[in-house]
């Protein structure tokens, strides 16, 4: 729940640390401090304890602690002096992103998220072809055949089996009758323990063969013949069996995390996944579930789209917003030094500091951030959902959740720091 008061004991808490956005965590305040029951999620437990156990460092200029006023003045001077600033990272909540856009317009800045590469693997497919997707509750209640692509979804989204794939209860598709197909570079059949072995098939395949595999499945669904030798080490009868399962399923779901598809032109692989889903819907029902949203990529992108009309990788260098997905990749802008100031916003994870760069950097960061290189300015900011309330999108982009507040702290929200900077321009 939205709350500008710190949570009292046992109240429900939304977790901002992965794109599942689990909102059933609880918090306990005791004399030993604040404790979060992370419902068995290691990622959440670790991230909450890191956030709650950390110290509140002072703002600093070139590593030297300085009063906030002075740091803000110095940052504003840097922003005023920059002719092509880059605002990147963008791991923040809705109001942090609203403020980012306001300041970006004032400063003629360019925008990209730290997960921009993963985000655009999906987005380029949406813009080229469109797609057909489902959301968490649909998958939880309706899916009877679930294809999980790649091996990393289970680490990146730890409660995926419990919450979506194999829940305790479902409206239409009994969990004990579901079938799971794990497609990816699985070594020695090491599948996630949360999924019942008897209901799980593993198809070991290299990520780069995924697109080809999807093409084979589409061909089989269209009743085209298949060479006897199979494909990418998968025997023909196993391929035929999967195609038959897809044909028979009432509601099949393809799950992937674009962040894992980290190879050149992976958007073509995403496109192949999307096209299989489309073909299936000619005769039966199927949906894609692209998992994303960790570190706020979905959040930042949503706000940017509604306020400017364009997704991220949009810049204000030429007056109104200009969308340049091929040109505004933050890594490229930095390495080519096509920017003269980096404002890196990263309120959620100490590990998501700014990349090493020669471009002067203002860091609005998680208090525990250890940047890869020296930064000109560091302003520690609050975590949405811990230090201040906020809003946060999970993977399916349909459900912005309210983040409450766990503790009273002196850390300012990103939005407030940016407003203070804007006032100084």
């Amino acid at each position: 729940m939205w709350s500008s008061e710190a949570k009292s004991a046992n109240s429900v808490l939304t977790c901002p640390f992965c794109g599942l956005g689990c909102d059933d965590l609880s918090v306990e305040l005791s004399e030993q401090g604040t404790k979060v029951d992370a419902r068995g999620c290691g990622l959440a437990a670790r991230s909450f304890s890191e956030a709650l156990g950390g110290t509140f460092p002072s703002a600093a200029i070139r590593g030297q602690p300085a009063p906030l006023e002075q740091v803000l003045d110095h940052s504003a001077a840097l922003l005023r002096g920059a002719s092509a600033p880059l605002f990147a990272g963008l791991a923040t909540d809705v109001n942090g992103m609203r403020a980012t856009l306001e300041l970006a317009e004032r400063c003629s800045a360019t925008l990209d998220h730290l997960n921009g590469d993963a985000l655009f693997r999906n987005l380029l497919v949406l813009q080229e072809h469109g797609w057909l997707t489902g959301t968490f509750a649909e998958v939880r209640n309706r899916a009877d055949l679930i294809l999980v692509v790649g091996t990393e979804c289970f680490e990146r989204f730890p409660r995926l089996p419990e919450r979506l794939l194999y829940p305790s209860d479902a409206l239409f598709s009994p969990p004990r009758e579901r079938h799971f197909v794990l497609i990816g570079p699985w070594a020695d059949q090491q599948t996630p323990v949360e999924l019942p072995k008897s209901q799980t098939t593993v198809l070991p395949v290299d990520l780069k063969d995924l697109a080809g595999l999807m093409g084979i499945l589409r061909g089989l669904l269209a009743k085209r013949p298949l060479q006897a030798g199979g494909f990418a080490g998968i025997a023909t009868d196993r391929l035929a069996d999967l195609a038959e399962r897809l044909r028979r399923a009432r509601y099949s779901v393809l799950v992937w995390s674009a962040a894992e598809l980290d190879f050149p032109h992976a958007e073509l692989t995403v496109r192949a996944l999307v096209e299989l889903v489309r073909d299936l819907n000619e005769e039966t029902r199927a949906a894609a579930l692209p998992l994303a949203g960790s570190l706020g990529d979905v959040t930042a992108n949503q706000v940017c789209i509604w306020q400017t009309g364009y997704p991220l990788r949009t810049g204000f260098q030429q007056g109104g917003p200009r969308y340049q997905p091929a040109l505004y990749r933050h890594q490229d802008l930095l390495s080519r030094e096509e920017t003269d100031l980096l404002l890196w916003i990263s309120a959620l994870s100490p590990a998501a500091g700014p990349p090493r760069t020669r471009v002067p950097t203002i860091l609005l960061g998680h208090p525990g951030t250890a940047p890869a290189g020296p930064v000109e300015v560091f302003i520690p900011v609050g975590l949405p959902g811990i230090d201040h309330p906020g809003h946060w999108y999970r993977s399916d982009a349909v459900c912005p959740l309210p983040l409450g507040k766990v503790r009273d702290s002196t850390l300012l929200p990103v939005a407030e720091v940016l407003h203070l900077l804007e006032k100084r321009l």
């Binding site: 939304t14 009432r250 306020q307 009309g309 109104g320 906020g390």
Partner: protein
């Protein structure tokens, strides 16, 4: 601060004022009752100008996930910068998929001061409100979608009482901070998830022992019994299907006399006559509307050109995917509540079907007698972007112009249309009814849509030009809460609006049933689903303004 508007000709149908010259006094954002004793701080000489209340759009897709999907999918529609905002240029402008900022500014530039998003998916209500909060200068509101959600269908299937249904409907309104209830393709979106591709009004749902008729009857009754001002807002079955006039007429009947609003009825007024088995059923539909006083409609006029269709109706949007232009489309099944489909579309005047759709919309406007029961919409952006309203007003007020346009469309469509025989020209008074007085009345907004004492000083002043498109396209002045926000087409100041809601009473006991549902099946907690007033004001950025309902059960 006292402001006087003097010499203008007022069109204020809510108060029966038809073109009379009267002065208006404004203080603290409201219209005063007669001239006060002191002299005004500011006086605007409006001699020869037309003065109306700020316009109200009761059906325009301006916020929420599906609108954002359309923007994301179609960057090529964005058209560079539009230097109209007072603070800068932080938006590009695509008429079909405007950014939230462009939406606010462009509506204000046309003299609109309140707009309502008609398809708020309950789980996505926060996003809809956040986007609308970022549309400056507009007061906004939304209609929550029910009637495809598994919880309602389960309650109905289990034989829940009407009282329990009413409680659930009221709870949904509170939780989502909405002002109305909408049903889209009743039961059909849900049926599509069970791989059903068509669901007629009296056809049984593939899973639940229910028909669309049952859903319309139950929900229209719930809305009436809860005392909500706005009738059930219905996007009927079989959108766009030739011959769908039958299901449209059946949907009207399904309300069994309870108030019902059929939206974008142009898309639901098709016959199957002629060589192409596609014809206008506007006469039959208009006749039914004229006879059944419990029915109101908005038209959903189409205009020729590029747009994008955005709808909760996944069943029909998926069926229409092959018409996508450009060739891409998105559909989404959402949270056991409903869905959405986004299909870009280009209406062509030389295409028989599109040309006839255009004519059907105009026929409906001209054949439905009572302007209090027909509303001026293009179902933005589904029929056309809202920026085409001034052109549409000219088509309605200027028969010569209309006939000139008719001569340009596909000749077979023109020949099949009754348009040439329809001489009606809407008066300014009737335009003011359709765009101000009637939408305010049907939404229960007593504080706007008129120029009487106590009304919000949301006022639009037009130059009277020979061409209505010019008159309505660029007002001389627009006042929002008594402040000038647009001068001669330029936005001169900006501020945020408020969210308009109603809150019928309900028995909190229903929350046990809803909470159990959330715990077992949903992906969020009930407590997080619900949007508080504090969250609206502090987090989302649009404080709520509550409008009264009639006492529950007084229907």
């Amino acid at each position: 601060m006292l402001t006087k508007l003097t010499g203008g000709r007022l069109y204020d149908p809510a108060n029966g004022v038809d073109g009379e010259v009267r002065d208006i006094y404004i203080r603290d954002g409201h219209i005063l009752d007669g001239p006060p004793a002191e002299s005004p701080d500011r006086t605007y000489d409006l001699t020869g100008k037309l003065v109306m209340a700020g316009a109200i759009d009761l059906h325009t897709h301006i916020g929420g996930g599906k609108v954002n999907i359309a923007r994301a999918m179609l960057p090529e529609l964005q058209g560079g910068k539009e230097a109209a905002s007072p603070s800068g240029e932080r938006y590009s402008f695509s008429p079909a998929t405007p950014s939230s900022l462009a939406t606010g500014y462009r509506y204000a530039q046309m003299g609109y001061t309140s707009c309502f998003e008609p398809a708020v998916l309950p789980v996505n209500a926060r996003q809809a409100h956040m986007e609308m909060a970022d549309a400056p200068l507009l007061d906004t509101g939304g209609y929550a979608m029910l009637g495809n959600d598994d919880l309602l269908l389960q309650l109905m299937s289990e034989g829940a009482t009407q009282e329990e249904i009413n409680d659930y409907v009221a709870w949904t309104l509170h939780a989502t901070q909405c002002i109305g209830i909408k049903v889209v393709n009743p039961g059909g979106i849900n049926a599509f998830k069970f791989n059903t591709r068509k669901l007629d009004v009296d056809e049984r749902h593939p899973h639940y022992p229910l028909t669309p008729r049952d859903i319309v009857r139950t929900l229209s009754r719930a809305v009436a019994e809860l005392g909500m001002p706005h009738p059930l807002h219905v996007h009927a079955s079989n959108l766009g299907v030739p011959g769908n006039q039958t299901s449209t007429l059946a949907t009207m009947e399904a309300a069994e006399g309870f108030p019902v609003h059929l939206t974008h009825i142009q898309f639901h007024s098709y016959g199957t006559e002629g060589d192409r088995h596609f014809s206008s059923a506007a006469a039959e539909i208009a006749d039914a509307v004229n006879r059944q006083k419990n029915v109101t409609i908005d038209v959903g006029q189409i205009m020729f050109g590029q747009t994008v269709t955005i709808s909760g109706d996944t069943m029909r949007q998926h069926a229409n995917r092959r018409f996508a232009h450009p060739r891409k489309w998105t559909c989404m099944d959402i949270e056991c509540e409903a869905g959405c489909g986004v299909v870009p579309f280009r209406y062509r005047d030389k295409n028989f079907v599109n040309a006839l759709q255009w004519a059907i919309g105009l026929e409906l406007f001209l054949m439905i007698d009572d302007p209090w029961r027909v509303f001026l919409t293009t179902d933005h952006p589904n029929g056309a972007p809202f920026t085409s309203y001034p052109h549409l007003i000219r088509l309605l007020t200027d028969k010569g112009f209309r006939n000139d346009q008719l001569a340009r469309i596909h000749p077979d469509a023109a020949a099949m249309s009754r348009l040439t025989g329809l001489d009606r020209e809407y008066s300014l008074y009737e335009i003011a009814i359709m765009t101000r007085a009637a939408p305010a009345r049907i939404l229960g907004l007593t504080d706007r849509g008129h120029l009487g004492p106590g009304a919000l000083a949301d006022i639009t002043v037009y130059h009277e030009r020979p061409d209505a498109e010019q008159t309505f396209g660029s007002p001389m002045l627009v006042f929002k809460r008594g402040e000038v926000v647009v001068e001669e087409g330029q936005v001169s100041r900006t501020f945020s609006g408020a969210t308009q809601v109603v809150r019928p009473d309900y028995d909190r006991g229903i929350e046990r049933r809803i909470g159990d549902w959330f715990d077992r099946y949903h992906s969020v907690r009930m407590g997080n689903f619900r949007i508080s007033d504090q969250e609206m004001a502090e987090g989302i950025g649009s404080p709520v303004q509550v409008h009264p309902c009639r006492p529950r059960g007084s229907a």
